[in-house]
């Protein structure tokens, strides 16, 4: 019933009368102009204007894979769309509000309008920057610093981010985590994963030292130095529980002492798998404290993808689980920017991933494994933390839910068993690790959740961040030369260039700058304040229809250090 109302043109922004006047977004247009050499920029642009005029009747709908293609997937709050009847039961109140507000909005379309300072305060609310001292007393760092930011679409936001420096080993860890079915799992992973990685990387002696310290009640060597925004919180209640699990892990590592030096790739894979395992175990065991008991269950029943970078000198490892993405910004010799993917999305668009899932299950399930580009027709990412509904056997799920607290028991969603659920587990948290040796031309790394990649092509991301980090003077000056240009055409072009420059000057944070573009870009690939204002003033319930949570970390590398490292090796 509600699902149907989605395409009733009230909640959905399918083609039809536009309630929110947002011009068409076509990733093809910026690309088109990018491909042109700079002086000729002028003319394609003018043509682009016309194209956009033609296209502007088509409404922009970025969630088509969720709500437009199939009437089944009505509820956008969930990455995996429960079936019709079930959707109606889940959080009905919110759906109702949804409905009302959509109508309100339609009747007063100009109600929400933000001034540039208001827009800025929204965009900058979560921004964070960290500058790494070039020489911290021990090592020369290849990382200059990083900028991070996030823009919520869900309320509360389901994305998380983390950044920390390893204190007992070298290197820096940065990660983005995209939660689904709530934020509990993403929160837990953002707090815990880096400890698991750091511990996996520690040499035997250090592990022993730490264990002895804990044993004798002495002060513990600090393992990580966190770089956190004030809004990035850690749950105090669970810290003891989490610590115990971590300690068990390092005790096992001590027992297993292989004597070999730790390989970063292996450490990353082990840490991911171990953490997911601990999440699963904690939920099965439960906790006498009812609050903690409910917490570990919520963590296990929700899910999260993770994309983590480990940078140590010129060695860059990316461990990815799910559909967040890591991308390297490379400056070519001519000064232009290109993007290098450092992760593969684990979703239905990735053939290898579909292949892998099919390999792991009997041939009889081949048809039901991936439906509507979703795992078992429900889940978009093919790898994730938590999500025990796709990992545990049916019996285990039933037992845990029944013995669990009432809240869990009352929740229809947790009781719901995915269809065609025969040979669990269907889901893994094992990451795919890509190694990249940094070169002087590798200027920055972007880690971002799919909220960014849905709206922007990586090539544009590389260009926007690159131009931002190097300053705008790289914008080619215009020369009229012998061309026939009218005053009006020139004026249009200049206004557009000016808008681009002014948006750069507004931001002190590369991630903020990227979000501004992701949300506010118009057909010219430049930030349009009106559009930005409308997108940001969408009521909470509508926001998720137009955009996903966006979390971005931009890591800037120190080319001099990287160049020096290279030379040393030569």
């Amino acid at each position: 019933m509600l699902a149907a109302s989605c395409c009733d043109r009230r909640m959905c922004v399918c083609p039809g009368p536009r309630r929110i006047a947002i011009p068409v977004r076509s990733s093809r247009l910026p690309l088109l102009s990018d491909a042109m050499p700079a002086p000729a920029h002028l003319f394609p642009l003018i043509r682009n204007c016309e194209i956009s005029r033609i296209c502007s009747t088509v409404c922009y709908c970025h969630h088509k894979h969720l709500c437009c293609l199939s009437s089944h997937f009505a509820h956008s709050h969930f990455r995996y769309a429960p079936q019709k009847k079930f959707a109606a039961l889940y959080r009905p109140k919110e759906n109702f509000n949804h409905f009302i507000h959509a109508r309100d909005y339609a009747s007063t379309p100009q109600r929400f309008y933000l001034t540039p300072p208001q827009v800025n305060s929204i965009l900058k609310a979560n921004e964070y920057s960290f500058k790494v001292p070039e020489f911290d007393g021990k090592n020369v760092s290849s990382v200059l610093g990083f900028d991070s930011n996030q823009l919520p679409a869900n309320a509360p936001i389901e994305d998380r981010r983390s950044a920390a420096t390893c204190l007992q080993t070298r290197g820096m860890l940065l990660g983005v985590f995209d939660g689904h079915a709530g934020c509990a799992c993403a929160q837990a992973v953002s707090e815990r994963l880096f400890y698991y990685i750091a511990v996996s990387l520690l040499p035997h002696e250090t592990l022993l030292e730490i264990e002895n310290a804990v044993e004798s009640g002495r002060a513990l060597l600090p393992i990580l130095q966190w770089h956190k925004h004030p809004n990035d919180y850690f749950s105090k209640e669970a810290s003891k529980l989490y610590f115990n699990s971590l300690r068990t892990y390092w005790q096992e590592l001590i027992d297993l002492n292989s004597g070999e030096t730790t390989d970063v790739k292996e450490a990353l894979i082990n840490a991911f798998k171990r953490l997911d395992n601990d999440i699963s175990l904690e939920a099965q065991v439960g906790d006498p404290n009812s609050f903690l008991n409910y917490l570990v269950l919520r963590v296990a029943f929700s899910g999260a993808t993770a994309c983590v970078a480990h940078v140590d000198g010129v060695d860059l490892h990316i461990a990815n689980t799910g559909d967040s993405r890591a991308m390297l910004g490379v400056q070519e010799e001519d000064g232009s920017w290109s993007a290098v993917n450092l992760s593969y999305d684990h979703n239905a668009q990735n053939e290898h991933e579909v292949e892998r899932v099919k390999m792991e299950h009997p041939k009889s399930e081949e048809k039901s494994l991936v439906k509507q580009d979703r795992l078992l027709g429900l889940l978009m990412p093919f790898r994730a933390f938590g999500d025990v509904k796709f990992k545990w056997s049916i019996e285990l799920q039933k037992r845990v839910v029944e013995s669990g607290p009432d809240q869990l028991n009352d929740n229809e969603y947790t009781k719901f068993i995915p269809p065609n659920y025969h040979t669990p587990p269907y889901l893994t948290a094992e990451p795919e690790v890509i190694y990249h040796k940094l070169r002087p031309q590798d200027k920055f790394l972007v880690l971002a959740t799919d909220g960014l990649w849905e709206t922007m092509h990586r090539q544009d991301v590389a260009r926007i961040v690159g131009e931002y980090l190097t300053g705008v003077h790289h914008q080619q000056p215009i020369a009229v030369g012998g061309y026939k240009v009218t005053l009006g055409q020139m004026h249009g072009l200049l206004t557009e260039r000016r808008a681009r420059i002014s948006s750069v000057f507004e931001d002190q944070n590369a991630a903020t700058h990227l979000i501004r573009h992701a949300v506010g870009n118009n057909e010219f690939g430049t930030v349009d304040h009106e559009r930005l204002s409308k997108m940001l003033s969408l009521p909470e319930e509508l926001a998720r229809m137009y955009r996903d949570d966006i979390t971005i970390i931009v890591v800037q590398f120190n080319s001099h250090v990287i160049g020096a490292c290279q030379n040393e090796e030569l």
Binding site: P477, V480, K484, V485, T486, L487, G488, L494, T495, R497
Partner: protein
């Protein structure tokens, strides 16, 4: 490419001399000698720079009979800024001397083609200055008033009339405009070539591709010029090197400071419209949009003065910067937007080129003219602030007069090089200042404008103390001076918002400061005054000063004398107070901006005698002005020296101790006519004395005051002010200061003859005070200066300064009244009766207010006089005020 766009006039063909030169060049070209005509070994005048300024100076000098002139140009004639100049001759200027120069230029260019046979492209198109705001319209009306009284046709028109005059203008956002029908367009390069042609016919030798490397100086005089083609000995050198003038000035051993700095300036050229624009279409100036638009070969030429100028050549001429002088469209964008807003129909017009042509700007938006204060015979004409073509003719004429006659026929002090000193020559200062000046070209010119850049250069030792007490500052000759003190808890408007032609927001603040001066006592820091000490071993100092100053300086030690420093025509070169410290030494106080001019004037005239010394001690003393009836009480408590009127009469100077500090020069003058003292304090004691005065003064209600209060006080008392009211063309006779002249002091003095003649024959202008009658201070526009004065409906002169008198509760304007014959316009003698028997009106932006004329100050103002027959009172209306 652009060089070909402006039609290149073959001026050389019209010039027989050039023909000879070209012939000889051709004949020797086989020997590959680039410069066939060798430079003369000597000349009377060498002019450097073949742009509009250099050629204009050459033209006028040769017309005035000087023949032995060489003009050197490093490249080709009229090839620099002149070539790229937009060619608009506009008389709409704020400063009256600039207005006169532009008017003369216009008339000169008009007949130049006939005179020389060189096509100048002169076209009388008229110009329309648009107003988008009421304030702008007021500003235009003020200009219109001064244009009209000068006989230049000009009218304020409605937006509809604008549309009739120009078909393309969008008039929807306009409130009015000013139309000057006689403004013109020229091809600036061709005007320059025409002037060169005429000069060359009069015997001026012109050498292209010759650059001056430096100017040789001996004993403070120009002796010759060193060029890349050899040396020329000369008596006079004229630096017309435009944006290179600064560098050239600094190239010699004896540097000549010419404070100017170049900024990039952009204008746009388009292809012709489908229906080409008529060449008679008026030029549009849209100051609110920061642009000007003229017709150009059927299309348009449009440029402007952006808010964010790009200064260049800060570190001198630089090949890299010259190469980078390219079209910068992004920079031009705001101006292009303004253009399309003003003329939306131009959207489809095709661009031909964006021209980048550097222009030079000066620290105060006025051009630089005159003789160097340090090197005699070194003249300068540069820094045109992008109005070179408008000023070219007039500026050249005045400079030529200056060289030939010793002084030009008009008061050019506002343009005099000597208004600047070395302090304005820092490249950083100039760079920052011109970035403020260039946008100001289009900004609203409101009364009491202060520059914001290049500030806090010279300050009193009390600066921080005063600043902490709410001082608001203005700048004079680099020195920070207090305007007024904002009481705690009171906020004034932001700088931009406080721009007004009406009653300003500090009105009540200054009112209370004035009240305190009248009833209790105030302290004003007046340290910026120029202070010289002149002393000698024998009587040389007295003798020299007696010759150079008009009043009798042979007074008993300890007396202060107000006197003019006059020129041969009896006009005020300076107006100062001189204290006789001892038999053989004098302490001289002059206005702040006299520091360079007065020094040069005296240096050039004092005998070269090692026993006679002159020292600039400006920096050694902090000056505090204690004004008010209780000043005497405050000072009495701080010193054991008796300062009762019996022991310390008016116009007296005594060195005494104040507080713990000794050696303070106390003078019983206040420069306002109010009772009080000036304290000249050695700077290390400044803070101590200030603190003592403020502490002791508390019980007498002492407070700080600023220059605005001083100004109100001095104007209501009819005190003239050098630099505003008084100038080199004003004599003591004309401003009622005969008593400051001792015609029979037993010896000759400069200007004596002229004064004697005036005494016999009467004066042709008279300094008069006007009290506005039907002026509503709250609602009406405030007078400023430069407002036309009408007597019985006829124009008789202009105001020179004005202020609100808090005592009279009226505005007071000071100005000069002339008497023009009703039929012939001939200047007649102004008599007291003529002044008294007239009905006067002051024209403020086109609105006339009735005014009462006075030749003497109102005696009702002097309630606090100390002694009835005091010298200060008998001379009360002629006492100098120095700022």
């Amino acid at each position: 490419m652009f060089l070909r766009l402006l039609s290149d006039v073959r001026w050389r063909a019209a010039n027989p001399k050039w023909r000879r030169m070209t012939c000889s060049r051709r004949s020797t070209s086989s020997t590959a000698e680039p410069h066939p005509i060798s430079l003369p070994a000597q000349a009377q005048v060498v002019i450097c720079g073949g742009g509009i300024m250099g050629t204009s100076v050459a033209y006028h000098l040769s017309k005035m009979g000087w023949k032995d002139i060489v003009l050197l140009e490093q490249g080709r004639l009229a090839a620099g800024t002149t070539r790229f100049c937009a060619g608009i001759v506009s008389t709409a200027r704020h400063v009256s001397i600039e207005l006169k120069m532009a008017d003369y230029s216009n008339k000169l260019y008009q007949q130049l083609e006939q005179e020389t046979g060189v096509k100048t492209g002169y076209m009388k198109t008229g110009s329309i200055s648009l107003a988008q705001t009421q304030d702008r319209l007021i500003s235009l009306k003020r200009i219109a008033s001064s244009l009209n009284v000068m006989g230049i046709p000009c009218e304020i028109i409605t937006p509809k009339q604008v549309a009739q005059l120009h078909p393309l203008i969008n008039i929807h956002d306009l409130v009015g405009a000013m139309y000057v029908p006689e403004d013109a367009l020229v091809s600036s390069a061709n005007v320059s070539l025409a002037l060169a042609t005429a000069a060359s016919r009069n015997g001026v030798q012109i050498h292209e591709r010759t650059s001056v490397s430096h100017v040789s100086v001996q004993k403070g005089r120009v002796t010759g010029v060193e060029t890349d083609r050899g040396q020329i000995q000369c008596q006079y050198f004229v630096n017309c090197a435009g944006q290179w003038a600064y560098e050239l000035g600094h190239s010699g051993e004896e540097p000549v400071n010419i404070p100017l700095h170049a900024c990039e300036h952009f204008y746009l050229l388009t292809h012709p419209l489908k229906e080409p624009l008529a060449s008679s279409l008026p030029t549009i100036v849209d100051p609110d949009g920061r642009i000007y638009i003229r017709n150009w070969q059927g299309g348009i030429l449009s440029g402007g003065f952006e808010k964010n100028p790009k200064p260049l050549f800060t570190e001198g001429r630089n090949q890299l910067e010259i190469q980078n002088l390219q079209e910068d469209w992004d920079h031009f964008e705001p101006l292009l937007s303004a253009l399309l807003r003003r003329m939306p129909d131009l959207e489809a017009l095709q661009i031909m080129q964006l021209v980048n042509c550097p222009e030079s700007f000066t620290p105060d938006m006025r051009c630089i003219m005159g003789e160097s204060p340090t090197v005699r015979g070194y003249f300068v004409l540069a820094g045109m602030n992008s109005a070179g073509i408008s000023y070219g003719g007039g500026a050249g004429k005045y400079l030529a007069e200056w060289m030939v006659n010793g002084y030009p026929s008009e008061n050019v002090w506002p343009l005099d090089l000597k208004r600047f000193g070395t302090l304005q020559s820092s490249r950083t200062f100039l760079r920052h200042r011109v970035m403020e000046v260039m946008p100001l070209m289009c900004d609203l010119k409101v009364p009491r404008w202060d520059f914001q850049t290049g500030r806090q250069l010279r300050t009193s030792p009390l600066y921080d103390r005063l600043d902490a007490q709410g001082a608001r500052w203005m700048e004079k000759h680099g020195f920070e001076r207090v305007k007024y003190f904002v009481p705690p808890g009171k906020d004034l408007l932001d700088l931009d918002q406080s721009k007004t032609f009406y009653k300003p927001d500090w009105f009540d603040i200054v009112g209370s400061e004035v009240k305190c001066c009248k009833e209790a006592v105030c302290v004003i820091d007046m340290s910026s005054f120029t202070k010289f000490e002149i002393s000698s071993t024998g009587d040389q100092a007295l003798e020299s000063l007696q010759y150079l100053f008009s009043n009798d300086l042979d007074v008993p030690v300890g007396h202060v004398v107000h006197t003019g420093m006059l020129n041969e025509k009896g006009g005020y070169e300076n107006d100062c107070s001189i204290a006789r410290l001892s038999k053989r030494s004098f302490f001289m106080i002059s206005p702040t901006d006299q520091q360079v001019h007065c020094w040069a004037w005296l240096k050039n005239r004092l005998p070269d005698d090692s026993n006679l010394t002159m020292e600039d001690v400006t920096w050694k003393y902090t000056a505090l002005n204690l004004i008010g009836p209780r000043a005497v009480d405050v000072l009495s408590e701080l010193s054991y020296a008796p300062i009762t009127p019996e022991h310390f009469p008016s116009l007296f100077c005594k060195e005494m101790s104040v507080g713990y500090a000794n050696g303070i020069r106390v003078m019983s003058i206040t420069h306002t006519g109010e009772p009080g003292f000036m304290l000249y304090i050695p700077i290390e004691y400044a803070l101590h004395v200030y603190n003592e005065v403020m502490n002791m003064g508390q019980k007498y209600g002492i407070r700080n005051a600023g220059y605005y209060a001083l100004r109100s006080l001095r104007i209501e008392k009819f005190f003239a002010f050098w630099g505003q009211d008084l100038d080199a063309f004003t004599t003591p006779m004309e401003c009622g200061r005969e008593f400051q002249v001792k015609l029979e002091k037993g010896m000759q003095f400069v200007g004596q003859e002229a004064l004697l003649e005036q005494k016999q024959n009467g004066v042709y202008k008279r300094f008069t005070m006007f009290i506005l009658e039907d002026h509503d201070t709250d609602a009406d526009l405030w007078p400023w200066w430069g407002e036309p004065i009408f007597r019985n409906g006829r124009y008789v002169g202009k105001t020179t300064s004005s202020a609100y008198s808090y005592t009279l509760e009226r505005h007071v304007c000071l100005g000069f009244v002339q008497h023009f014959d009703e039929k012939t316009g001939e200047e007649l003698v102004v008599t007291t009766d003529f002044i008294n028997q007239g009905e006067y009106e002051i024209d403020i932006a086109g609105q006339r207010f009735q005014a009462k004329a006075k030749l003497y100050p109102l005696s009702s103002l002097f309630t606090h006089r100390r002694r009835k027959d005091e010298v200060e009172l008998s001379g009360v209306h002629g006492k100098p005020v120095q700022e």
